[in-house]
């Protein structure tokens, strides 16, 4: 088990390095297979790890493997250690499994891109970082993985680095991620200060003892950890980078910005649950922010017209569910939703990628329609993903979302507010999901769909960035001249087919009152949790029925608005123009941040630059310091005259000063 667990990390790392080294020397095609194979190896290792973990006694299912001691004697117990337990094994299974499929998809999707090898090197590096993050057995490795994941995400968002929109989005994501990193590091510091150990299990064992009488520091530490979690998981108010991140290639959106990286925050809270249970204020903050995010993101998703951005907002919203769940103690439910979401959201992105390819790179929902007949396979996949997302039974999303809300309802107290918010969000989810499906696949075929049905492919005359209209640099700034749609590529079909299967049956491992697969698997990790809920039968049945009804109702509403009476949406827009404006401007979060953070900062910066910096910093501080250093340098070198006797004289002078000082002590 130890070997297989380390192999999970070794395969993607070796893949990234190998591809980086070989990129110049082997055919590009090979790097794609190599990358896929490496991640496949990681998945196989993860499965083997899972099997051998299950072969152990239940009490012995939390194992720390120490690769080597990094620094043990400097007052820090920094080790290269990984923690293998049901939680991390679940995460590595999901991450490596979904990653394998997305690599497979990318092999075809990115085929005509000039940066093919670079793409796979980055993607493998990302998978390595993500696996490091979830396998880390101590805070040090967690921080390293956390930072690496952020860096990989930055590299992949701005993968087409000649696109100004892509580089801008990359920088935005990077900056917000760094804010999160700082939060994580500071939070770790607050906790380490009391526990004196970086090791997870050691910290959890002693948390109650170490923080006796100083829960303030623990709450502060947990809140700072939440800052890290919010930044990675795109929760309000650190969410604005996620929609922009859709500038990256679609497989990246599927892997990083839907299935894996953005769920790191959920993982973090679940992993740190012994800390959060001792700091209820921080846990409640997490739950409330999750609820707010799921509602706000849901409303925005209804009005946004960019295909990928709708899915991005839906991702935010679904992660809101998970954050709400794990913060409120519904750990298994939150992770259950994480797993099913990884399947159906990756599937949705893959299908969306297919549509975008057919549209020649354009993502605007307004110009799509009628692809149902042109791309039946894509349509089927999109529908499966959509039904799972909209929580229609018996698709996987139905059971996982139901589980979260069920736990919240059973906890009672003020958690009822979250319960209600969750069901409102559920309705919103169904509406925006089927808005996508109806607008992209129903109604009359647009010219591109018509061409596809006639066996042609639509090629724009000149490649242009759909967002800004600027001409693309086809060397690096363009997904490739050829179209890669699922219908025509066996690789993409296989990847999407497997995910579709997962999206359908993934929910069956945890059905209320029927199966408890996930719960009993994860039990060793959450054995120390003090939160126990026993939902009553009434609540269970009520929840199941309500969830199903809301899902179907949402679909019905969407059908009515966008298929039966196509003019309805315009009418509603006109009537509720204030709301529409609010939603389509994304609740003015960008503007709010602009107003509250950026503007004052830039004003302050301008003031600083014009007055403070020029006079004080440049004049006195920088000028003074560099001047001082330069003068010192000149002085040292002037004294170094080369004359031997002047050296002897200085030696004598030094001797006199030192001797005088010592004699003063007498």
């Amino acid at each position: 088990m130890e070997t297989t667990a380390w192999l999970v990390l070794a395969f993607p790392l070796a893949g990234a390095i190998l591809i980086g080294l070989l990129a110049q020397h082997v055919p590009a095609k090979l790097t794609g297979y190599l990358g896929t194979l490496a991640i496949g190896g990681a998945f196989v290792s993860a499965v083997l790890t899972f099997l051998s973990l299950q072969g152990r006694e239940e009490e012995a299912r939390q194992v720390v493997f120490v690769g080597w001691d990094y620094a043990r004697s400097v007052g820090v117990d920094a080790q290269i250690s990984i923690l293998v337990d049901p939680l991390s094994v679940l995460m590595i299974l999901v991450v490596s499994g979904v990653s394998t499929l997305i690599h497979l998809y990318s092999v075809a999707y990115m085929e005509s891109d000039q940066g093919y090898a670079r793409f796979f090197a980055y993607l493998n590096f990302f998978v390595f970082s993500m696996l490091l993050l979830v396998l880390a057995g101590n805070f040090m490795l967690l921080i390293v993985g956390w930072a690496f994941v952020g860096a990989a995400s930055y590299l992949l968002i701005s993968f087409w680095y000649r696109r100004t929109t892509a580089t801008k989005a990359g920088i935005k994501a990077f900056v917000i991620n760094v804010v999160g990193d700082v939060g994580l590091v500071l939070g770790t510091y607050f906790i380490f200060k009391h526990t004196g150990t970086l090791d997870f299990l050691g910290t959890f064992d002693s948390v109650e003892r170490d923080f006796e009488g100083s829960t303030g520091d623990l709450t502060a530490g947990c809140l700072l950890l939440l800052v890290g979690a919010f930044a990675k998981s795109a929760q309000i108010p650190l969410h604005t980078w996620l929609p922009d991140a859709m500038e990256g290639p679609t497989p990246v959106s599927a892997l990083i910005h839907a299935a894996t990286m953005v769920t790191a925050g959920v993982y973090l809270i679940a992993r740190m649950h012994p800390l959060f249970e001792q700091a209820p204020a921080a846990a409640d903050t997490g739950a409330i922010i999750g609820a707010v995010t799921l509602l706000v993101a849901g409303t925005i998703a209804i009005v946004v017209t960019d295909l990928k951005r709708v899915i991005a907002y839906s991702t935010m919203s679904q992660i809101g569910y998970m954050i709400m769940g794990v913060s409120a103690g519904a750990y298994v439910a939150g992770l259950f939703h994480l797993m099913t979401h990884a399947f159906f959201k990756a599937l949705l992105f893959m299908a969306a990628g297919s549509v975008i390819a057919a549209m020649g790179g354009r993502q605007d929902l307004d110009s799509m329609g009628g692809f149902r007949k042109a791309m039946p396979y894509t349509f089927a996949c999109f529908c499966i993903g959509g039904l799972a997302l909209a929580a229609v039974p018996p698709f996987s999303g139905f059971f996982s979302k139901d589980e979260i809300l069920l736990d919240l309802g059973a906890e009672g107290g003020w958690h009822w507010v979250l319960y209600v918010a969750g069901y409102v969000g559920s309705l919103l989810t169904a509406v925006y999901t089927f808005r996508l499906i109806f607008r992209a696949f129903f109604n009359d075929p647009v010219p591109e769909a018509q061409e596809l049905m006639d066996g042609h492919l639509h090629h724009p005359a000149e490649a242009a960035n759909p967002a800004t209209g600027e001409t693309e640099d086809t060397d690096v700034g363009f997904p490739g001249a050829d179209h890669h749609i699922a219908e025509q590529s066996p690789f993409m079909r296989v990847a999407m087919g497997i995910l579709a299967l997962g999206a359908i049956v993934g929910g069956f491992i945890q059905i209320p009152k029927v199966t408890h697969g996930l719960e009993s698997f994860l039990d060793p990790t959450f054995a120390r949790s003090e939160i126990e809920v026993e939902p009553s039968d009434g609540l269970i049945y009520f929840g199941l029925v309500l969830g199903a009804v809301l899902g179907l109702l949402g679909i019905a509403i969407a059908y009515r608005i966008w298929v039966q009476k196509p003019g309805t949406s315009a009418a509603i827009q006109a009537r509720l123009s204030v709301l529409h404006k609010l939603f389509s401007n994304k609740w003015y979060f960008d503007e709010l941040i602009e107003l509250v953070v950026v503007r004052p900062l830039s004003w302050f910066g301008r003031f600083g630059q014009q007055t403070f910096e020029r006079i004080f910093v440049n004049g006195a501080l920088v000028g003074g310091t560099t001047g001082l250093v330069r003068a010192g340098s000149a002085a040292v070198r002037a004294v170094q005259s080369g004359y031997l006797r002047s050296y002897a004289a200085l030696l004598l002078g030094g001797l006199a000063v030192v001797g005088f000082y010592f004699l003063l002590q007498a």
Partner: protein
């Protein structure tokens, strides 16, 4: 003769040697100044051995060892000076300033 006198003479010798190092420009003279300083230190040890710590015989070993090392240092010093003189036709240290800065 007392310890104080010995220490004073030794200090005087050290001072003369140091003055020699600082004032002379010929490498040979400078090395001789250094030898004077080493001699002063040895005189100290002998003085302490004779007046303060007659029991501590290790002082006498100290002097013997230093004496040998002094001779070695002088030998190597003069060899180097000779070598420089052959190369540069000068033993004035103020001419050796190519390395500086």
């Amino acid at each position: 003769m007392s310890l104080t006198v010995v220490i004073a003479v030794a200090a005087l010798l050290f001072g003369i040697g140091l003055y020699g190092v600082l004032s002379q420009t010929n490498a040979v003279m400078i090395v001789m100044g250094v030898e004077l300083m080493l001699g002063a230190a040895m005189l100290n040890v002998v003085g302490f051995l004779r007046y303060a710590w007659p029991e501590a015989v290790s002082g006498s070993f100290f002097v013997l060892v230093v004496m040998t090392l002094m001779a070695l240092e002088a030998a190597v010093g003069f060899a180097l000076i000779t070598s420089v003189f052959r190369n540069r036709r000068t033993a004035e240290v103020d001419d050796l300033t190519e390395l500086q800065g």
